[in-house]
């Protein structure tokens, strides 16, 4: 016993062995077992081409995007403990968050992380384009990626409203006013005035797409609740599912792209 290092002694305890079912990563069999036997690591292949590991090739931008997404999930859950999505409380809860919560940088990490994720997802797309990685057999995964990009922007956009300050409601007003101009579906868009039966106007500011988005004719309390649910529940769930598909397909399409 005494000539073994502490690490090895720990490795031999029943507790350790019950958690990690493999030995130290000093031989091929164990290295394979580590990756294949861990629910998180098994997203990876056991072995891969060296070019796919190099930071200079992938920039690990997709991985970084995923990491930021996870950080946002964690900090977002923490923020939800303090935040109530009503016109009465929302703003004050954010003020309380910055004034009364000790060492509070969760809101900062969440906000800057959201910005950073937009940047990294763009750069990831740029890398994938520049290495031609959308070419067969990866066409479909590129499409999944584009949807992820759009959802990332929407996540960021819906979150922008939640602090319920001037910056928030007016940025969302500017953004959602665009929906008003949707052809045929928005009351200020081309074709909307044509959709009339006699005197009855089919598309008005009380039923067009912007109304559906905001739950009203302007950015008010119903919009806050809608954006809150989209931001905290619906879009993250969809993004989570799509990321799972995205990763699955990276593997199934033959791993990180490399010259044929």
């Amino acid at each position: 016993m005494s000539d073994k290092s502490i690490v090895d002694q720990v490795r031999e305890t029943q507790v350790w062995k019950s958690i990690f079912r493999h030995g130290p990563p000093n031989n091929a069999r164990n290295r394979a077992a580590i990756v294949a036997g861990n629910v998180f690591l098994h997203l990876h292949p056991i072995k891969l081409k060296k070019s796919g590991v190099q930071l200079g090739y992938t920039w690990c931008m997709g991985g970084l995007t995923f990491f930021i997404f996870l950080s946002l999930t964690v900090t977002g859950v923490l923020l939800m403990f303090y935040y109530r999505p009503t016109a009465e409380y929302a703003f004050n809860d954010i003020v309380a968050l910055r004034e009364h919560v000790p060492l509070g940088i969760m809101r900062e990490i969440h906000r800057w992380g959201a910005h950073a994720m937009v940047i990294t997802v763009w750069l990831h797309m740029f890398r994938v384009f520049m290495t031609g990685s959308y070419k067969p057999p990866r066409e479909f995964n590129w499409g999944v990626g584009v949807i992820l990009l759009v959802l990332t922007l929407l996540l960021s956009f819906t979150g922008y409203l939640l602090p319920w300050d001037q910056l928030a409601i007016w940025a969302i007003t500017v953004g959602s006013n665009m929906a008003k101009a949707t052809p045929f579906l928005g009351h200020g868009g081309p074709g909307a005035t044509l959709a009339q039966i006699g005197d009855f106007i089919l598309v008005s500011d009380k039923n067009d797409v912007r109304f559906q988005l905001l739950g009203g004719r302007f950015v008010g309390e119903p919009a806050l609740l809608r954006f809150y649910i989209l931001h905290c529940v619906f879009i993250p769930l969809v993004v989570g599912v799509l990321i799972a598909i995205h990763f699955w397909r990276v593997r199934k399409d033959g791993g990180i792209s490399a010259p044929l």
Partner: protein
Amino acid sequence: MEALKEFVNILSGPQYSFTLTLIMFYLLMKYYRIIGTKKFAWGFVILMTPVYLWFMSDDVFRTIIATPDNIPISILLFSVFFFTWLTVHKAAINDERIEAGECPIEGLPENREKVWSWPNLVYNELFVIIAGTIFLIVWAIIFKAPLEEPANPTWAPNPAKAPWYFLGLQEMLVYFDPWMAGVVLPVFIIIGLVAIPYIDTNPKGNGYYTFSERKMAISCFMFGWLVLWIFLIIIGTFLRGPNWTFYGPFEYWDFHKVVAEANINLSEIIWIKMLGTTMPSNLIVREIFGIFVILAYFGISGAMITKKWGQDILEKTGKIRYYFFLFLVLFMATLPIKMYLRWLFTLKYIVALPEWELNL
């Protein structure tokens, strides 16, 4: 110094800075092998650092740049510069190898060799996670998340800006109506992006950096991404003040700047100025020239482009792919075209049908 600042202010005007960006883009595409050298990169950094410091020494400029919500755009800008250079650098090396009959770097035997995920990949990821965590925490400690006055639906701030990643679209509102800038163009951007793998049938350049083997695809993509998307975001964030008026980087946003905007529709130019009559009351007759211009743009110029440059791609990729590609490119080009028409002829709309909310 003041004169120099005044000069920079004028040069930043959208019409000049966009033209400069176009020229820079052309140079990048043409001389990417020189730009992709490390020497060039260092030269650029050494040259630009004093310029950047000089910009930052100006109070007005620093106020805008250091607004917490604008920090991401600086980060975006630096990373776009860096990663564009990096791809060009790698492409230049590979292109030279390919010309010499060698394989790209990524295809060398030592890079095709299979390595264990543990530790190679997992440790890289760990490094990225740690670096990312440190970066976010430092950023979060230095810059407080902004919080303004409580929401007040009766008082709009001026300018009211969308979040920065949508400012390219908001900037397009200067040249297009909301239904184009806010709905049709974004939808086509998304459709166009999804369609890329199905349009681009060139099998080369899959899995390594190259430019010479994919000139067409890369220049189209980079044009949309750098010259249109990134450029418009920068104008929209840093150079648009109250009432969406243009302000140079050293110009104080003083709310009183009045810019005489006498934009005029194509129909008015033709009927009133050129033909000297009144505007016809029939809407279609009134706008007939504009409608013709639009149709001719897509039809005639499309046919001419096909004849001059397109035959090759048309044969290789087939009709559907080719014409869809042509349509997307022509559609993307409407934005810079409309920008120049505005700057050169103060043209407002080519087709102006406010009666139907249909202005182009």
